[in-house]
Structures are given as structure tokens and as C-alpha cells.
């Protein structure tokens, strides 16, 4: 499952999408909205994507992960739009026969997503808002 959604991520469904009888491990990463950033209180976040490209880059990450590790499956869902504190902006689930592969692939997926997938977040504070920019690789 690879998706970009504009409402709550159905985490249970994402987990179920990678469950298989031959899998012994499911590792998930859930990126949640923090109530502060750089020591400043955050009221909420807004995420914007380049939708066609973001889907394509998510697909590339899944293909690379399936190629590099013996996985059963991997799913990534990213949410866009406004999100409140504690809500999930991204959810990744990876299943494999043995746990080391699921851990490694899940970390690879979120690390790569944060550098290659064209999605941006804007932090909102009591007194304003700022687009967050990553680092050019």
C-alpha cells in the first residue's frame, strides 16, 4: 500500500496490508506531530505535497527496500493538509520473516522519505508560521 491521504491515516489497515502468514516480524514507524519544535510551542502543522511526484518517490523507496532486504511487504502512507498535535503525518509498516530486515528497511524508508519525497511541512505557532526546509542532498 502506497498512498497520500488528506485525512487520518488508517494505521490498522496499513499494518494489515503487510501481514502475511510467513512473516515473523512487523515493524512500524509512526511520525506524530510534536507540540514543540526548536524549543518553540507548535499549535498545529500543515503539510503540502507534489502529489504525483511524491507517490512516485514513495514507490521508489518501497521498490528499493524490497530489493535490498528479504521483506514480505512494505507500506507507506503520508498525510497532507492540516494536522493537530499527536496526529500521524506518516506511517510505515514493514513485514519480514526475521526482525533485523524489518527494522533496517523501516529505518531506510523513513530516512529516505525525509530526503527524497517532495512533501513540505509548515509549522504554525501562536504568533505565526514557517515553512520548514530540509537540506539539499
Amino acid at each position: 500500500m502506497i498512498d497520500i491521504v488528506d485525512s487520518s491515516i488508517a494505521r490498522k489497515k496499513v499494518v494489515e496490508s503487510v501481514a502475511q502468514a510467513s512473516a515473523g516480524a512487523i515493524v512500524t514507524f509512526d511520525g506524530t506531530i510534536r507540540n514543540q519544535s526548536r524549543n518553540k510551542p507548535v499549535t498545529h502543522l500543515y503539510y503540502e505535497a507534489h502529489p504525483e511526484m511524491a507517490l512516485k518517490e514513495l514507490k521508489t523507496i518501497c521498490d528499493q527496500a524490497m530489493h535490498r532486504w528479504p521483506l514480505n511487504d512494505i507500506s507507506i502512507v503520508h498525510r497532507v493538509g492540516r494536522m493537530e498535535i499527536g496526529e500521524s503525518s506518516v506511517f510505515i509498516a514493514v513485514s519480514s520473516a526475521h526482525r533485523v530486515d524489518a527494522f533496517a528497511a523501516c529505518q531506510f524508508a523513513i530516512d529516505t522519505l525525509k530526503t527524497t519525497v517532495p512533501i513540505w511541512k509548515k509549522e504554525h505557532y501562536e504568533d505565526g508560521e514557517v515553512w520548514i526546509e530540509g537540506y539539499k542532498q
Partner: protein
């Protein structure tokens, strides 16, 4: 014609999420960007960090574009 798309802070700077510019033959992304800079001088500060995609594939300022292409400009990503 060439379709230009802008995202995040670049979209705010341009004030539009997409615009169309005239293009009758091959040109470079850099040339398109330089023409944009004459209209939006603040783009200058984006040049060192700018990311470019042609038809949804990452590319660079030195690449060529052709009529009908879709060119995306955006800052380094911050999703996740």
C-alpha cells in the same frame, strides 16, 4: 508552452501554484529560472538550495526542457 509548478515557500513567493510560459524550442532550466528571477528577484536566495523536476523526475538547472514539458521548482523537502 511550458508549465511551471511551485511548491511550499516557493509557491508563496511566486503567489501561484502554477503558471505557463511561452516556449518554442529547447532551452535550459537555468534559462527559465533566470527569466523568472527578473520577475521575482527574491528567487535569487533560492538558487543554492533549489530542487528541480522535469515531468516529475528530479533534474537540475543544467538540464534541457522542451515545449510541453512540466517543470517543478521547490525547496529541499521536509516531509515525514
Amino acid at each position: 508552452m511550458l508549465k511551471l509548478r511551485f511548491f511550499a515557500s516557493l509557491k508563496d513567493l511566486i503567489g501561484e501554484s502554477e503558471i505557463e510560459v511561452k516556449l518554442e524550442g529547447e532551452t535550459s532550466v537555468r534559462e527559465v529560472f533566470n527569466q523568472l528571477k527578473t520577475r521575482f528577484p527574491k528567487l535569487e536566495t533560492y538558487e543554492p538550495i533549489l530542487l528541480v523536476a522535469i515531468n516529475h523526475e528530479y533534474s537540475s538547472l543544467d538540464a534541457s526542457v522542451f515545449p510541453g514539458d512540466e517543470l517543478s521548482f521547490f525547496p529541499p523537502v521536509s516531509g515525514g
